[in-house]
Symmetry: C2
Subunit: 413 residues, 2 copies
């Protein structure tokens, strides 16, 4: 008998019919003899509608009230899921964030979970009551409703799994697992059976939209095995698993490369002839950080004359114009040319086996060269290599790399 936390995303609870379908999955889990806690998102589209209401009234609105409004979406699905479970003969009750309680800090709109006193949930588990917990929301110590920000419902599920020491946290979504790359772009993409937290983090951060990095980080920190499953595949759940995300040491046979990811949401900023002096990088990136602009790939060329250097980095596309205006106002950059290139893509290969294998970078660069794709910048970590290329070569690069690393058409991982 295992304890399992099961989370359903917005498309899985988009209307009463889908909620009933999701309840069937929970019932199947209970029939297999497991103790289950359910976490639900708001119906697909509802959160956006609520955010829109707030912004219609005041685009810079008070995050306390924003949270009260936006949290109501999960309240609806939480109650409805409890009803659907009761209809199936299960004892069930809903818990809003304040009822669990999911105690959060005061950072409204993007609160972090401080503490989850487990008594109420343990009480449900002991009495075979399926607790249905509203995702994405908590309560501050002063008794205000808070929300967790993006990826909030996944984070709720993982945090609850940690709080009750669950054996697994199942994330039901509209895809049936984590793939070696985007299956819409590469038909030969294959589903991964197992992937490490670290790989998933790189893949999530780099563009795979299955899980929010925050929930993966939390799962890694508390060592909660995650499983990604489809709500819509009737076979999924028992016989056919989705993708299991676990600690690196629980993966016997480590793949060198497990995935190829891409993002086209960044702009490349190039600063030409920046004075090459100590502290110049800080004087550029500190003001950007203060303006809330996330800088990614940073490349500084060797200074040929010892006096000036060229610097390249990426920012989210939506922040490119603001980046230019922040940099233009800096005294140190007067006279420096600032170029923005929106037509770039970042392509990455990810794999925990990479660190112990040589030749991975060479294979990547050779493959791109063979396809006449110019590399504009490179960054690496222990388990990934990322390159910036011209956006128009995105599909070509992803497909070529997917094939070059033997990821086509087989179950890997």
């Amino acid at each position: 008998m295992s304890r399992i936390v099961v989370k359903f995303g917005g498309t899985s609870v988009a209307d009463p019919n889908r909620i009933e379908n999701a309840a069937d999955k929970v019932q199947a889990e209970v029939r297999r003899g497991n103790k289950v806690i359910v976490v639900v998102s708001a119906m697909a589209g509802v959160t956006n509608q609520l955010v829109d209401y707030c912004q219609q009234i005041d685009p810079g609105c008070d995050p306390h009230e924003y949270d009260a409004v936006v949290a109501s979406g999960e309240q609806i699905t939480t109650g409805l899921m409890a009803l659907a479970l009761q209809k199936r003969g299960l004892s069930s009750r809903s818990f809003m964030g304040w009822q669990v309680p999911m105690i959060c800090n005061d950072q409204h709109g993007r609160a972090r979970i401080d503490e989850i006193p487990p008594e109420n949930l343990e009480n449900c588990l002991d009495n075979d009551v399926v607790a249905v917990v509203a995702g994405f929301q908590g309560v501050s110590r002063s008794g205000r409703i808070s929300t967790l920000g993006r990826g909030g419902s996944d984070t709720t599920a993982v945090a609850l799994a940690a709080a009750v020491k669950a054996h697994r946290c199942d994330i039901y979504t509209d895809v049936d697992g984590v793939y070696t790359t985007d299956p819409r772009m590469v038909p030969q993409a294959s589903k991964l059976e197992k992937v490490s937290y670290e790989e998933m983090l790189e893949m999530a951060a780099l563009g795979a939209k299955v899980l929010h990095p925050r929930s993966v980080e939390l799962a890694m920190a508390w060592n909660v095995p995650l499983q990604v499953l489809s709500s819509f595949d009737p076979k999924i759940g028992s016989e056919l698993p989705g993708t299991l995300i676990v600690a690196e040491e629980d993966i016997m046979e480590k793949q060198i490369v497990n995935g190829v990811t891409y993002t086209r949401n960044e702009s490349k900023i190039t600063l030409l002839k920046v004075p090459d002096m100590p502290g110049i990088a800080a004087s550029i990136f500190a003001p950007l950080g203060e303006s809330g602009i996330n800088v990614d790939v940073i490349v500084q060329n060797v200074s040929p004359d010892g006096k000036t250097t060229d610097m390249t980095f990426t920012v989210p596309k939506g922040d490119a114009a603001r980046t230019k205006s922040v940099l233009s106002s800096l005294d140190q950059l007067q006279g420096v040319e600032i170029r923005i290139d929106n037509d770039i893509a970042k392509i990455s290969i990810v794999g925990i086996g990479m660190s112990s294998h040589t030749g991975v970078a060479k294979t990547m660069f050779t493959t791109l060269a063979e396809n006449k794709i110019n590399i504009q910048a490179i960054t690496t970590s222990e388990i990934k290599i990322s390159v910036l290329i011209d956006e128009k070569f995105t599909e070509l690069a992803v497909r070529a790399l997917h094939s070059a690393f033997d990821l086509d058409q087989k179950n890997v991982g």
Copy 2:
């Protein structure tokens, strides 16, 4: 400086624009130097949508979960109203039922308010913070979300007004006051400046849709002056009042008749040749009560032969068929003919001056006779007279009585 509780109904907060318009009314009240607490309903249509979701899953659903789902409608408008007030430079914060707390009994779906510890609201009033409270909802002593049932938001407003000893409770709605009769039926209908709780109760129960009787009863019990105003009339609120609903002793000049009301939502049930013996009425009406059928006007004719009698009463139209089946199953009524007449209307005249004036009934009956309208049954109370007539004469009867009691085209009350 007065304390005023201000409540906005569903049409008054139907979208962000209307919420802003309602916030203007609150701001005007604060500028007049008053301390304000705001109560809001859900956006028009939202509660019905949420009820529909619950019933799609389970028509006889658990009222605990029903309450959690349905209460989310007010959570949205409460937060949005606080945002709109903040935008106007007012300090404001939202309170859900559990945050006030509005402590209710365990009758989920139709909870009654047990207690409102006033500390949180007093704290807001003391610090010039406009508290925005979610109407219709409360929290049980075991910490579950509860809802108050029909008329819930008006009841929330009146209960809060009682709890903080407010000077007045303003109910903003889509009409600008209480009228002598339905203005859509009688163009000469005039707005009442003042009406007593008792009259309002009779008028609300008899078909005037402005205020739910429950909120009026509560206002009467705690002696909270109520005012009905329009959200949509820009002049209303300061110069031009709506209708004030107060204790009888606060009305100097009592009108004999203050209103003519009608309802077409009842069916007339006639039982022919009922055995005339002690206990027969109880044996008929007790089973109906147990079946949740509300019986209204009851008339029992004198028994001509001492053995049988005819009995007439009304029930809500939707309950007529069920009434017949309940009665048909009774041993005492075997052989009794049961007739249902759906084509009836109940016309009533209401006025606190009635009890001290003679001739009111005579004027009513004469007026109907002059218009060739047959009276099928009569009931009276201290402050009203109701008659059942053929439904097709509804307009004729209402207009004739409105004119006969001098209610046409002038401000009365």
